[in-house]
Amino acid sequence: MAKDGEKSGWKEYIWNPRTREFLGRTASSWGLILLFYLVFYIFLAGLFTLTMYVMLQTLDDHKPTWQDRLSTPGMVIRPKTDETYEIVYNVENTESWDMYAQALDKFLAPYNNSVQAEKNNECVPDQYFLQEDSGDVKNNPKRSCQFNRTILDLCSGINDRYYGYQDGKPCIIIKLNRVIGMLPSKDGQAPFVTCGAKKEDSDKIGELLYFPPNGTFNLMYYPYYGKKAQVNYSQPLVAVKFLNITANQDVNIECRINANNIPIGSDRDKFSGRVSFKLRINTIN
């Protein structure tokens, strides 16, 4: 009996034909409250838009307000596999390294000399390519320096289509994250990349070859002025070729930037100013 009462109570709550109430409210009551909330939320949305608009007006178009989190730029390697920083392949199995080659092909396509010549300027090397605005007059668009694929030489993929993967001497390309206005060096000394094995693997890494020589990022590619002002900016690259790395073993490698104007990143961030990855080349021989 109690259940029946409850049931009809529920039914009545959903639709009460006597008072014409749906969920405890009449149509006009629903209308009023919904109208109120509609108006209220439109008002709030308007207000939010207004404050957001005001906030966006205070921003600079070319440089973010704060860059303190980017004081040590991140470093990234290519080719990059899905989730992990691991390059593992089998020399005899073409399919296992072909994807790396393809990824590098794709990554280096914008660095083709023809593309670079078309879009970018030749700059004076070994000095910053400063294009400052003079007061309120913006010096835009800003020009960018060429970074020709050929600079990477053996790792450019031009002569060696498979970047050395096929004979167990793979190339890894390293880039430094773009940070607007960053000047990586104080006194004309170009920052350079060094790679080394982690402690226990130090005897397995073998000989390394850097392109450009010494693994430098030429100063002429700095500073970066942001994607709006410097549309065609080509990020400088450093390639590392592992000439005789021990096969069939995990080799943990860490590359780091050496620059006198870049603070050493926090311990927590494994990718600021350095990059670690694992290389394992399997071979039957």
Partner: protein
């Protein structure tokens, strides 16, 4: 009386209880001593034989009360741990663990959030559970009852020898002896007594010692003189009696068994919290399911959607609220304890405030308990008493001989006296030792005739019979003022009709005249008129005892009255009024031992029966028709006589309670209280019962809140009650009502405050799912709000003063006036919470934009953003970010969102101070709240700036400007709510009130 005469209890629950509710089935008092001896096979001189005693002991068991089934401590603890609100948190915790389990099973590196949240939820429940367990343990430890009532030793006569045995070994039929100072070891039928007096106060509440003798003086075993009851005290004299009942079969044992067997319902606040949980669960499930469906539509996998579902449901759980509610109740309990109201059960703190029906036999509950003399009747005329300090308002001739006689009787036949050291105080303000009506008389006589003490010194008291409920009078015998007059003056006061019965003459204009019918009618009219004013009327008479019969030095025996107590001379009436309290709840049911006429009058006086409402009898009298012809539905008010109540069926009882708004039960026995309480509860009322006797304890236990007296109350009644008035001052009940209502209002505010921040806590997660932005607010920061910054302000609202005179309000209707209703949710979630969320989101967008991620870049960024291997994520300016770099920004956003919630919660706590008034009317006098504002801000700053927080809680220092992001929204909240409350006040009952007044 003794409707059920079966001496043994029946087996089986309800039948047993019904049996116990009936009145005492003792019949031995009506038997002759020989019959009793025969019944128990005992001997009036020799007592039982040892063999018989042993046999009876085996048959009946020891003479001890079965201790009430005490709940083991761990059960009490579990009740705290799993009761009410905790269930919600437990569910949340289990869901969290479930979600974590799913994640752990499906992902390589499961995010620890759900695990931590589950652990924190568990910790919160356990800690608050422990807290309230210890709180209650502290209060309930104060009373330890039944065991102490069992007397340790008893003097029995067995086989003609007096032996002292352990009282537990006393059996029915034992011949025992008690003397002054002893506790009666069992219910005994007195066979001989020498000046024996017992104090029955623990059983009946009557404080005057009553004499015991072998004669049956009353049909009712409770009132007859030849039965002494288990656990009452023998005050003086000695008595010998045969044990007729032992252990649980004694009167006390029956009541104790009845009391401990009664089921008590949930407290109103527990019901409110249950309702609140329903609402919260409803909202949580609704949101969860909605976003589950959305997530599926948006292409998330089933498992992800389930994780979201759980996340949303758990996010709705207000983690801090359980602690807040517990602390608020504790604070109120402490505040009440300071005012001598000890609350045994935390949840009962609020109950008194919701009480819609008070069943009280003490009119002191309903009135100010400041009795003053209002009228007098003498010389066949009603005079108004002069209560001014300088006697300027005299309305009658003070030199009248009758008045002087009346004043003398009132002053002499009076045991009240001023407490010492108050001579400088005005008479009306002095403290008096004595009961209320005697104090009133004392003050009145002191005012108009000067020192009563001097009068008493001149008329030395030689004998006195104090007032008791059987005599209904008080008398004393004095020497006369005139040293040459050796006669004694007998003065008497008491219930007017009883006094009149004892008078044959009446003093008119100083002359004694025979009492004729005409004067009797004049008396009746005056009595009715004064009674009708709601005043307590006392009659006064005196007589000068003839010297030949009562020579100087005559030994007046007040025990066996050996002097004349009739053929007295009636002097006059005095009536006293106890001004009603303004705060009497509307539906007070008066349950009183008073006469129906007096009860009705008092009820009218204190507004229990309001003006213009009539009882059936009133209608009958007005229309001049017999009572039977009046339609009972016409009468709103009703006076039920206790003897009628006995014959009413449950339906008739319900009918009376339902169809009359104003009811007075007169001449009710305390047992009938239980029936009345049950009746009221059946009709949905929240019932408070006051009482002090053991007989009251079933009603006290059954009531939603039982109020026992701390000093005069028996241990059993204190055990059964939820609240104890430590100083026996009924004014404390009003304190209780006030505090209860205040805490109910303030809990609403506290909950409104706490719930509001739920929206800015949930919406980030929703947007994270729906538009794939980086998470704006993390689990840790949510917990920092709920269990950190929100706590003190939420608790501080418990210190908020009332907005209006809460005592003038109707008691809340538990069916309509809920602690948390849809309007509160609408305001907290739909309006204020939304503004708060916008404030938080604004801070979030500001930080990301200032760091390079404009809002347009954020939408849809989530997958890359949360990908650990993407370390060159591009922002709006073309810069590239490592995972850790952008996570630091994200956590800075969490911190800023958290700080923004603190900022908008400033405004929220200020608007929650009032529900109707403007903050400007209410003021900012709540120091705890101001402390709370500073405390939460300091805590937020600490969490943001303290070194090491980045590692410990992943909270980062904010740029000073980011603190101000939410300021406009905080201001908006304040202005919006002030406008809302302004509209609310301007249009009472208008749309704003109907939709937003919580």
């Amino acid at each position: 009386m003794g409707a059920d005469r079966s001496p043994k209890k029946k087996k089986g629950g309800t039948k047993d209880m019904d049996d116990l509710k009936k009145e005492v089935p003792i019949t031995e008092h009506k038997m002759s001593i020989e019959e009793v001896c025969r019944k128990f096979n005992t001997d009036i001189v020799q007592g039982l034989t040892n063999a018989k005693a042993a046999e009876y002991l085996i048959r009946d068991g020891p003479n001890a009360l079965t201790p009430p089934p005490t709940t083991p401590e761990w059960v009490k603890f579990c009740r705290q741990l799993f009761g009410g609100f905790s269930i919600l948190l437990w569910t949340g915790a289990i869901l969290c663990f479930l979600a974590y389990a799913i994640q752990a099973a499906t992902e390589d590196e499961p995010a620890g959030d759900n695990l931590y949240l589950g652990i924190v939820l568990t910790a919160v429940v356990v800690i608050t559970g422990c807290f309230s367990y210890f709180q209650e343990a502290k209060s309930s430890k104060i009373m330890e009852s039944f065991k102490n009532m069992v007397p340790q030793q008893a003097l029995v006569i067995r086989e003609g020898e007096k032996v002292t045995i352990n009282a537990e070994e006393v059996v029915g039929g034992d011949l025992i002896e008690v003397k002054g100072g002893d506790r009666i070891p069992a219910d005994i039928r007195v066979v001989s007594a020498h000046g024996c007096k017992v104090d029955n106060s623990s059983l009946t509440g009557e404080s005057e010692p009553q004499s015991r003798s072998p004669d049956c003086t009353h049909d009712n075993p409770l009132e007859t003189r030849n039965v002494a009851f288990f656990s009452t005290n023998c005050v003086e004299g000695t008595a010998r009696g045969i044990v007729i009942c032992t252990g649980d079969r004694t009167v006390m044992g029956r009541i104790a068994t009845l009391t401990s067997g009664l089921e008590t319902g949930k407290t109103p606040i527990a019901k409110e919290i249950e309702h609140f949980i329903h609402i919260i669960t409803g909202v949580a499930v609704f949101l969860g399911v909605t976003f589950f469906i959305l997530a599926i539509i948006l292409g998330y996998s089933w498992l992800e959607a389930v994780i979201f579902l759980i996340g949303i449901i758990v996010a709705n759980v207000p983690e801090g609220l359980l602690a807040t509610v517990t602390v608020c109740l504790t604070l109120t309990a402490k505040r009440m304890a300071k005012k001598n109201c000890l609350v045994k059960n935390l949840e009962a703190v609020e109950t008194l405030g919701s009480t819609s029906t008070i069943c009280s036999d003490k009119t002191g509950t309903l009135t100010q308990n400041r009795m003053t003399v209002a009228h007098m009747w003498f010389d066949n005329q009603i005079h108004e008493a002069d209560t001014t300090e300088d006697q300027s308002g005299a309305s009658f001739d003070k030199s009248s001989v009758t008045w002087l006689s009346l004043a003398r009787v009132a002053g002499l036949c009076n045991r009240a006296q001023f407490k010492a050291g108050q001579d400088s105080l005005p008479i009306l303000k002095r403290d008096v030792a004595g009961d209320a009506s005697e104090s009133a008389l004392l003050k009145c006589i002191e005012l108009s005739c000067g020192s009563v003490r001097a009068m008493r010194d001149r008329n030395k008291k030689v004998a006195e019979i104090p007032f008791n409920s059987t005599n209904k009078y008080q008398l004393s015998v004095h020497e006369t003022e005139d040293p040459n007059d050796n006669r004694y003056l007998l003065v008497m006061k008491g219930a007017p009709e009883r006094i009149l019965d004892r008078c044959t003459t009446i003093l008119v204009q100083g002359k004694e005249q025979p009492m004729d019918e005409e004067l009797k009618e004049a008396f009746q009219n005056a009595y009715m008129e004064l009674g009708g004013l709601g005043e307590r009327v006392l009659g006064f008479c005196h007589v000068l005892l003839p010297e030949d019969q009562y020579p100087k030095g005559f030994a007046f025996d007040t025990e066996d009255v050996n002097f004349q107590t009739d053929n007295l001379c009636f002097v006059g009436l005095m009536s006293m009024i106890d001004p009603p309290r303004a705060a009497v709840p509307d539906a007070v049911i008066m349950v009183t031992g008073d006469h129906p006429i007096t009860a009705k009058a008092i009820a009218k006086g204190v507004g229990i029966i309001s003006e213009g409402n009539e009882t059936v009898e009133d209608i009958a009298a007005r229309l001049n028709i017999p009572v039977s012809q009046v339609n009972p539905r016409d009468a709103k008010a009703c006076v039920v006589h206790g003897t009628d109540l006995k014959d009413l069926s449950q339906d008739q009882m319900d009918d009376i309670l339902r169809n009359h708004t104003e009811i007075v039960f007169a001449r009710t026995s305390p047992q009938q209280k239980l029936i009345i309480v049950e009746g009221c509860q059946r009709l949905g009322a929240i019932v408070a019962v006051t009482g002090d006797g053991v007989n009251d304890s079933p009603a006290l236990k059954k009531a939603d809140i039982g109020v026992a007296m701390g000093i005069s109350g028996s241990d059993v009644s204190k055990q059964a009650a939820d609240m104890i008035l430590l100083d026996d001052n009924f004014a404390s009940i009003v304190t209780g009502v006030e505090e209860g209502r205040l805490i109910f209002d303030n809990l609403k505010k506290s909950i409104a405050y706490t719930l509001t921040s739920n929206i800015p806590e949930i919406t980030p997660f929703l947007f994270f799912i729906i538009v794939n932005i980086p998470l704006p607010l993390g689990t840790i920061t949510i917990l920092c709000i709920d269990l950190g910054t929100d706590m003190v302000p939420a608790i501080s609202l418990a210190y908020e003063t009332a907005e209006s005179d809460i005592m003038k309000r109707q008691p809340r209707n538990p069916a309509r006036d809920k602690l948390v209703n849809e309007r509160l949710i609408s305001i907290a979630y739909g309006q204020i919470g939304m503004i708060q969320a916008l404030g938080g989101f604004f801070a979030y967008f500001v930080i990301l934009a200032e760091n390079g991620f404009l809002p347009s870049r954020l939408v849809g960024i989530r997958l890359n953003w949360d990908d650990r291997s993407t370390n060159d994520l591009e922002d709006s300016y073309g810069q590239q970010w490592t995972y850790e770099q952008r996570k630091i920004v994200e956590f800075t956003c969490h911190t800023a969102f958290f700080v923004s919630i603190v900022v908008v919660q400033w405004a929220d706590v200020i608007i929650c101070k009032t529900r109707r008034n403007s903050v400007f009317q209410q003021g900012m006098r709540n120091k705890i709240l101001i402390f709370g504002l500073f405390e939460e801000t300091a805590l937020a700053a600490f969490l943001s700036y303290c070194p090491g927080m980045d590692v410990a809680l992943r909270m980062y220092p904010l740029k000073p400007s980011w603190w101000f992001c939410a300021f406009p929204y905080s201001f908006l909240i304040f202005v919006y709510d002030e406008i809302r409350k302004l509209l609310l006040r301007r249009n009472p009952g208008g749309w704003v009130e109907r939709e937003t007044y919580y």
